[in-house]
Each structure stands twice: as C-alpha cells, then as structure tokens.
Symmetry: C2
Subunit: 189 residues, 2 copies
C-alpha cells in the first residue's frame, strides 16, 4: 500500500435544491453523520475536496462551529484521524460556487456527474468514469440529500452515474452508503 | 434487474466484546444510523439476516421499541421501504446465539468471517468469499462497532476478510461505510 496523491475527483453533498418524498423542491438540514462518514470515505480513497453545499447561513454557521471543534479544538487532539478527514471539507453556498472553485484549482471546468437511484438517459458507467479519472480529468460527483437531487441539477449535469443495483430491486441506500460504494467502485485499485 | 432470493450471507453487528481507542475490551452503545444504514444496504444486496448483538437488556429494550415504530407503528405507514429493510434485523445477546440460529436455519454452521481495518494472517480475499457465497455456503460476516472486534472474536473466526484499501494509507472508514462497500464487493453482479 503506497500513499497516492489526491485524485481529480471532488464530491459535493447538495442540501439545496433537493426533492422531498412528494418530489417538491426543498432545502434539507445537515445530517451530522453525512459530514463525518463521507469525509472519512473521501479521505480513504484520495478524493480531492468534499464540498458541502447549502445557501442557509444558519446551517453554514453551525457546521463551521462543528468543524472548528474537530480541526482546531479538542476534537483535533482527541482524534487526529478525524481531523485529517474533515480537512477535506469546504463549505459553499451554491453549486456554481463549487464549480468556480474547481475550475480555478484545476484550470478547467469539472465534468459534472449527477447521481440517482433511478436509471436516466445520459448514463455513465463506472468503467467510463474511471477512465476519465485515470486521465486526470477533473470530475465533480453530485450527491443529493433528502430524496435526491432536484431535476434542474440533474439536467444541468454532463452525465448521470449508473445507479447502484444490488440485484434485488430495492434501491433505498443512504447517501452515506451510496457515496462509500461509489468511491470504492471509482477509485479502488 | 430481476429480484433474487436471499443470499446465504448474514451480517452481525457486534457491540460486545469490542475494543475502545486504548484496546480495552468494552461494550458499545447502539448507534441509530448503524441500524438503519446497514439494514438498507443489507436489503439492497439480498442479505439473509442482519443480526444486532448486545448482552445488555436495556439496549435491546430500546432497540425493540425503535423497531416497533418502523415495523408496526407510524413509521411502517410513513416509510414502507424502511420497514422492508428493518425487517431483516434480529436481536441476539451473544455471537453464540447468532451462530446457533443460522445453524438451525441452514442446517450447517456458518463460516465465520471477521472484518478488520488491519491486515491479519488468515486473510480471505473478496473473490474467495464470493465463490463460497455462490456455492450457497452459509457465511456470517462479523462487523465491530467502537474501535473494532475484540481479539477473541477475530481468533475464533474461520477467516478475516481482506481489509479495504483505498490506496492512501488512511483506513478509518465508519462501520456503516465499510459494510456498504463489503456488501457491494461480495454481492453485486
């Protein structure tokens, strides 16, 4: 096992716009374990940055306080491995801000890849996306909270990643589990 | 996508004996999202049963109440998909009780496979374990909470599954993420 430099994959966890159970457009609140679990998986697989996206100042202020505990406060001394994972997090108000940041970092716009539990038309296979990552193309993987990304986010993306199919017809993974599986499929050797 | 009958894989989430940060043997408390996330992943991949193991009556009583909400109460009507996932859960006081139950169900003892973030001697690869599952051998995958399974649980197991290696040297996935990745590697087509 040799350490590798960060990949060209970034992940964004979108809290707005997403849909609820009735397919209405909503903003969701942060879930603490989405932050920790996805950051730990991102660090495990060498993800470049883990963006957490919400337009709501109160939510962002709460998360800033939580991150301060783990990055600078007692949490950083108590659990340095957690600090390493949460260091990947960057807060942004909109998806446009995320894309602007990646474009600045990498010198080109990222390929925007939406994720969904439902089969879509512009599907991209894991194999195809691995090829793009091996070619060091910047890629932004979009994860939805609540009942998933709003249609406008999916429509504005370049591709939708092939849904995870466990062979049973049941497709209700948590976003934390789905993210872990996707990173393993895309980045494990 | 065709529905398949349950596989011969069961999963047990062990809360005692496990180790803490200082490698002392402890009992851990239940974490709500371990219950939900692993049940949802188990249902996605056709896991036979999801055992939750703790010797503590107060913990088991709390979980029984929580499950009653999702299986019989308002939760069952509000979210039938969650009911389907949580229906896989069976509570047991000890690992011996889990093994006795599987032996009764399948007519033979399960192969006990411990999991760990650390490389062990009696390692089993994902490919080898997939072969056993395709041959319909009953297999029990043991997941540790807190800082992992106690040494006595690992030593009494038949094998230890190859650790998940993301290629970065960082190996601090949550048990929820690790379980999702393992099920995907073992059971996805």
């Amino acid at each position: 096992m040799t350490a590798k430099s960060a990949t060209t994959l970034s992940v964004a966890l979108i809290h707005c716009p997403v849909v609820n159970k009735n397919k209405e457009i909503i903003s969701s609140a942060f879930t603490n374990l989405d932050i920790h679990d996805i950051a730990r998986a991102a660090k495990t697989y060498g993800v470049d940055k883990y963006y957490i996206v919400s337009p709501h100042q109160d939510q962002l202020a709460l998360l800033t306080e939580l991150l301060d505990h783990w990055l600078n406060g007692y949490g950083a001394r108590y659990n340095p491995a957690r600090k390493q994972a949460l260091s990947l997090i960057q807060l942004e108000k909109t998806l446009e801000d995320v894309i602007a940041g990646i474009t600045k970092d990498h010198g080109e716009q990222p390929i925007r890849v939406a994720t969904s539990a439902i089969q879509r038309e512009n599907n991209l296979s894991y194999k195809e996306l691995r090829t793009k990552l091996r070619a060091r193309q910047p890629v932004l993987l979009l994860l939805g909270t609540a009942h998933g990304l709003a249609p406008e986010v999916v429509e504005k993306s370049d591709y939708t990643l092939q849904p995870i199919d466990g062979g049973t017809g049941y497709n209700h993974l948590s976003v934390r589990s789905a993210a872990a599986i996707m990173l393993d499929r895309l980045l494990a050797d």
